[in-house]
């Protein structure tokens, strides 16, 4: 694992430790979630129910001293259930805005593909614009704002899959995966006592988090790295099995994620390792395959791996620089 190479930034390290007190064997997902959080992006978790998604998000929220909100998406959920509604208060004799769950800091959007596109778009708007529109007027979202959406890959009945073009609103797409036998055993022993979540305390204030988010922006990305990112992204567009490659938004996302990842590793510059590592989480969900290549068994993940193998790492400064 790349993480072993260097120490983490001390504060982030605290958070990770905190989360790992609760979660067993989810270090990578936690780390990547932190990447998305610091890069001001959002995460799409595609996994079966019951592997600890909610628990993880809650732990993160709690360690960050953030407000945690959860939306369970159902087919009959309305946009206002997400954004909130104005309710008439007879005492005050006026409409009062009751904020919806999206107005939290860390939002878990569970089974996002089970609700109607209308409701989905309410969430997606918030993710993209950092504000929502309630009854015609914009309402700014809280900072920090971090959405972790989950989608269930095995149930197709009664689902409204997210339009592929919309998927790139998510910075990273992760898989949780089942724990190993050992991890699961460890998990059982942890749940026997108090709920582990109660032991978690905030290790980072909200202001500190915002401060870190701003610092991430200042991480240095060299030209060589930028070229490398562009080469990777361009390669997805030129691949013959790809119908739609990674968009320019994708390359920005990759760079932002790489910056956050570098920061987490207490480094103020991005190295190709960051890009190479994150490409596997940033790129696949932005790639749409042609139907032929789908039939031939290609997957976006496989194509990403091939591209990573074929594009050479920049190890030398070119002359004009």
């Amino acid at each position: 694992m790349t993480q072993q190479l260097s120490l983490y930034e001390p504060k982030i390290s605290e958070v990770l430790k905190n989360v790992n007190k609760v979660m067993v064997g989810k270090e990578e997902v936690t780390l990547l979630s932190m990447v998305a959080l610091l890069a001001k992006g959002h995460v799409l978790l595609e996994d079966v129910p019951g592997v600890g998604k909610t628990m993880m998000v809650r732990t993160i929220a709690k360690s960050l001293d953030c407000e945690f909100k959860r939306i369970q998406f159902t087919p009959d959920l309305l946009p206002s259930d997400v954004t909130g509604v104005s309710i008439y208060n007879p005492k005050e004799m006026e409409f009062q805005f009751r904020p919806g769950p999206i107005l939290g800091n860390v939002v878990l959007a569970d089974e996002i593909n089970r609700t109607s596109p209308k409701t989905q778009s309410a969430l997606l708007e918030g993710m993209e614009e950092s504000s929502i529109t309630v009854e015609g007027s914009p309402v700014p979202l809280k900072e920090p704002f971090f959405v972790m959406a989950t989608q269930n890959p095995i149930e197709y009945e009664g689902t409204y899959p997210l339009p592929e073009a919309q998927l790139d609103r998510f910075l990273l797409k992760l898989n949780m995966g089942y724990p190993t036998v050992q991890q699961e055993r460890e998990m059982l022993s942890r749940t026997s006592g108090d709920h582990p979540l109660t032991m978690v305390e905030a290790v980072l204030t909200r202001d500190e988090l915002i401060d870190i988010q701003n610092k991430v922006k200042d991480v240095y990305v060299d030209d060589t790295i930028r070229s490398y990112i562009v080469e990777l992204v361009t390669a997805t567009r030129e691949h013959e099995g790809v119908y739609l490659g990674v968009s320019p938004r994708g390359s920005i996302a990759l760079m932002k994620a790489a910056k956050a990842y570098a920061y987490i590793q207490d480094r103020d510059y991005v190295i190709p390792d960051d890009v190479k590592y994150l490409a596997r989480f940033v790129m696949p969900h932005r790639i749409i395959l042609t139907s032929e290549s789908k039939f031939e068994g290609f997957t976006p993940e496989g194509i990403t791996d091939t591209i990573l193998e074929n594009i050479s790492i920049p190890v030398q400064r070119t002359k004009h620089e």
């Binding site: 790349t2 190479l5 240095y220 060299d222 060589t224 790295i225 103020d268 510059y269 991005v270 190295i271 190709p272 390792d273 190479k276 990573l308 193998e309 074929n310 594009i311 050479s312 790492i313 920049p314 190890v315 030398q316 400064r317």
Partner: protein
């Protein structure tokens, strides 16, 4: 029969090791021929014994004493007569060792006793058994030893009298078996297969045996082209040894034949039996072509004024003797072969008139040289043949003895010439030889006889070329004493001149091989038919006798003078000497092949000399090219070593990012050369991790960390780079070690 894996391993090692022993045996075989080693069988047996003990893989405390005991028994049996392990025995052994250690300390290697040399040789065999066990069984590296065996055999065959013909065949067989077995088992190990059961093993062993036998038989049976290069030994010897170390002559192997350029004599030659002409004559004759007068110290040149005149009516006017000499009229017929390109006449002594010859040819006589050129329409052409009248001279002994010393002035000035730097010992030797003779003929005979008596050797292969400061004659007379007709005839002329007897050097052909006797030809006469080849090219000596003319002499060992000498019984009836024997040409003692003269291709005239000598130059250039190529290869193989030394100095202080980058890139190259190549999709960190794992260190990570900062962070300066330089050096050294 089923073999377990370990049993199989055992048999395989046995076969391999046996092959190793057999190959090693091939190394020992030439020793008996090449060195003064005796009792080779005992040494072979001891080697086998050592090999066997090594193979058993017993503990060293068992094998060492056993081998040592074997060694002691052999030494005892060969050299020591005292009772084994008796007191005297130990004393003698002690004395032997003490003496030989002294000899070694004094570095007089030649003084070592046979006992000690045998001891050292046995120890060597002992060590070899270990070494080969390691190579063949442990490391399974066979090819190197096989290659070395081939090289040793070929070198032995080329440079010594050892004949490696069968050794090569044997080595080939053994090597193929060894390589086959080893590759088979390596394959099995790699693929983790076990071929249990003889049946399956057979499936593999039979094709291999078949292939090996087939390739051996085919290799043995197919026609093989002759050597592409002449035997290098005579060349190397003549180039290095013959010149007394004063410089390497440019001459190499030459081809025998009649040639024009005699200015640089010496060097070996190879035989050429191309026929030049057929001659019909009553008796065997020497065939004269030309003479040369000027000895340069290295060879012969002609300095006489060219006096070429066309002769009409076939009267050649090239008699070498006066009317005082008895003659007998005879006829002779010469027919040149198609290969001949002499463009000159060959004629016996006494040639008088060309009677019949091919239409249109003219004869141009160069009187001073005695050379007759044949021309057609003004151009030198090879005449197909001719019939000529000869007045065969016979010289009377007493006439020769009484001829006196009064040579005409022009003879004295031309034919007493000698180079100024002719070493005095030549003159002294000549004086010494003739000091008891009171007339010219006997003096000449004494010098002629000197060559047949004084340890001279007729040799065409091992012939020296005089170095820059050597005199050709001096070298032959006092240093080498090996040579062919040029050496003998030139030496005799020079010796004669050094004591004031006018003499000249004659070139031509010997009588050739008798093909048919008493054949009756068209003219009704009966002749003997001779075939004369390039191999019959020859040189001899003519001595001037006042009032008589030029008389041929033959100093070359193994050749006899076909000229008639007789004793006039009427005039000197009291002569008791029966020297008549010399009238009759003695049967050729020398093999006709032993006759020679430096050749060049007749067609090419002087320019041919170049080609003939290229043989020698080729070897020289080949050696130089080989050396240069070897150095280039060595430089290339070790390029990272010497380049690193250079780079180390260059990057001693990685003051700026630019230098650091170059140094780092160079390091990547070195690592790639050492088998740790970075894949293009590997990031530097991933690569550094691999490298550190391979080299068991942590330096590459640190070095890479700093490089990353330069490359990806655009850092220009760092105060840690001094440390980094050290790491870089460490890494390079580690990688190259």
């Amino acid at each position: 029969m089923t073999l377990s894996r370990s049993q199989q391993q055992y048999y395989y090692q046995l076969v391999l090791y046996l092959c190793g022993f057999l190959l090693f045996w091939e190394w020992m075989r030439p020793l008996e021929k090449v060195t003064d080693t005796h009792n080779l069988t005992i040494f072979v047996i001891y080697a086998a014994f050592c090999f066997f003990i090594s193979f058993l893989q017993v503990n060293w405390w068992f094998s060492m004493p056993i081998k040592f005991l074997g060694l002691v028994f052999i030494l005892d049996g060969l050299f020591l007569y005292e009772g084994l392990f008796s007191k005297e025995w130990f004393i003698i052994v002690y004395q032997q060792f003490a003496y030989n250690f002294e000899v070694i300390l004094a570095q007089s290697w030649g003084e070592m006793t046979g006992f000690f040399r045998s001891f050292l040789f046995l120890v060597l065999l002992w060590l070899m058994s270990y070494l080969l066990y390691f190579w063949f069984v442990v490391a399974k590296r066979i090819f190197l030893f096989v290659l070395m065996t081939f090289i040793v055999i070929t070198v032995m065959d080329t440079f010594t009298e050892y004949n490696g013909q069968w050794a090569i065949v044997r080595t080939f067989l053994i090597a193929l078996v060894a390589l086959g077995v080893s590759s088979f088992f390596k394959e099995m190990e790699k693929e983790q297969i076990t071929l249990l059961g003889m049946n399956r093993l057979r499936r593999w062993v039979i094709p291999m045996t078949g292939l090996i036998l087939l390739s051996t038989v085919v290799g043995y049976a197919v026609p093989k082209p002759g050597p592409q290069w002449a035997d290098p030994v005579p060349y190397l010897e003549s180039a290095v040894g013959g010149s007394g170390g004063t410089g390497v002559g440019g001459k190499g192997i030459q081809k025998i034949g009649y040639g024009e350029d005699d200015s640089e004599l010496g060097g070996a030659f190879i035989q050429d039996e191309t026929p030049v002409f057929q001659a019909a004559a009553k008796q065997e004759r020497y065939w004269r072509v030309e003479t040369k007068n000027f000895y340069t110290g290295k060879g012969w040149e002609n300095t006489l004024e060219e006096d070429i005149r066309q002769v009409n009516g076939g009267d050649l006017g090239i008699r070498t003797f006066t009317d005082e000499v008895e003659t007998e009229e005879q006829f002779t017929i010469v027919n040149f072969t198609n290969e001949a390109a002499l463009k000159k006449m060959v004629y016996p002594y006494g040639a008088d008139k060309v009677i019949a010859y091919a239409e249109g040819f003219q004869f141009y006589v160069n009187q001073p040289k005695g050379e007759v050129e044949t021309r057609l329409n003004g151009n030198a052409e090879q005449i197909p043949g001719y019939r000529m009248r000869i007045d065969v001279p016979s010289y009377e002994y007493d006439q020769l003895r009484e001829a006196g010393e009064e040579d005409p002035e022009e003879i004295r000035t031309t034919y007493l010439q000698l180079p100024d730097n002719l070493p005095n010992r030549v003159r002294n030797l000549s004086r010494q030889i003739i000091k008891d003779e009171d007339n010219r003929y006997d003096a000449v005979k004494a010098i002629e006889d000197y060559f047949s008596s004084s340890g001279f050797e007729y040799n065409t292969k091992d012939v020296a070329v005089p170095g820059e400061n050597d005199d050709y004659v001096d070298q032959f007379l006092f240093e080498t004493q090996k040579g062919y007709c040029d050496n003998f005839s030139t030496s005799m002329v020079v010796m004669l001149r050094s004591v004031g007897i006018p003499a000249r050097w004659v070139k031509g052909f010997t009588g050739g091989e008798l093909q048919q006797s008493d054949a009756e030809l068209d003219d009704g006469e009966s002749y003997n038919l001779y075939q004369v080849t390039n191999g019959n090219a020859h040189s001899w000596v003519e001595v001037h006798f006042p009032g008589i003319g030029w008389v041929p002499f033959e100093p070359t060992k193994g050749f006899s003078n076909p000229t008639d000498f007789y004793v006039d019984t009427e005039e000197s009836g009291n002569s008791t000497e029966e020297e008549d024997s010399e009238d009759i040409p003695a049967p050729e003692v020398g093999n006709p092949q032993q006759q020679m003269e430096i050749e060049e291709n007749f067609n090419e005239g002087k320019s041919g000399a170049g080609t003939a000598r290229n043989g020698g130059n080729f070897w020289k250039y080949a050696l130089i090219a080989l050396a240069v190529a070897g150095m280039a290869i060595a430089l290339y193989i070790t390029r990272f070593r010497w380049m690193s030394a250079y780079m180390r100095r260059k990057y001693k202080h990685m003051g700026d990012a630019e230098t650091y980058q170059k140094a780092y890139q160079y390091l990547l190259k070195v690592l790639a050369h050492k088998g740790m190549k970075r894949r293009s999709d590997q990031t530097l960190r991933e690569y550094a991790r691999d490298v550190d794992m391979r080299l068991q260190m942590n330096d590459m990570k640190i070095l890479t960390y700093h490089y990353e900062r330069i490359l990806y962070r655009n850092e220009q300066q760092s105060n840690q780079w001094d440390k980094v330089t050290e790491l870089w050096e460490n890494l390079i050294n580690r990688a190259l070690s």
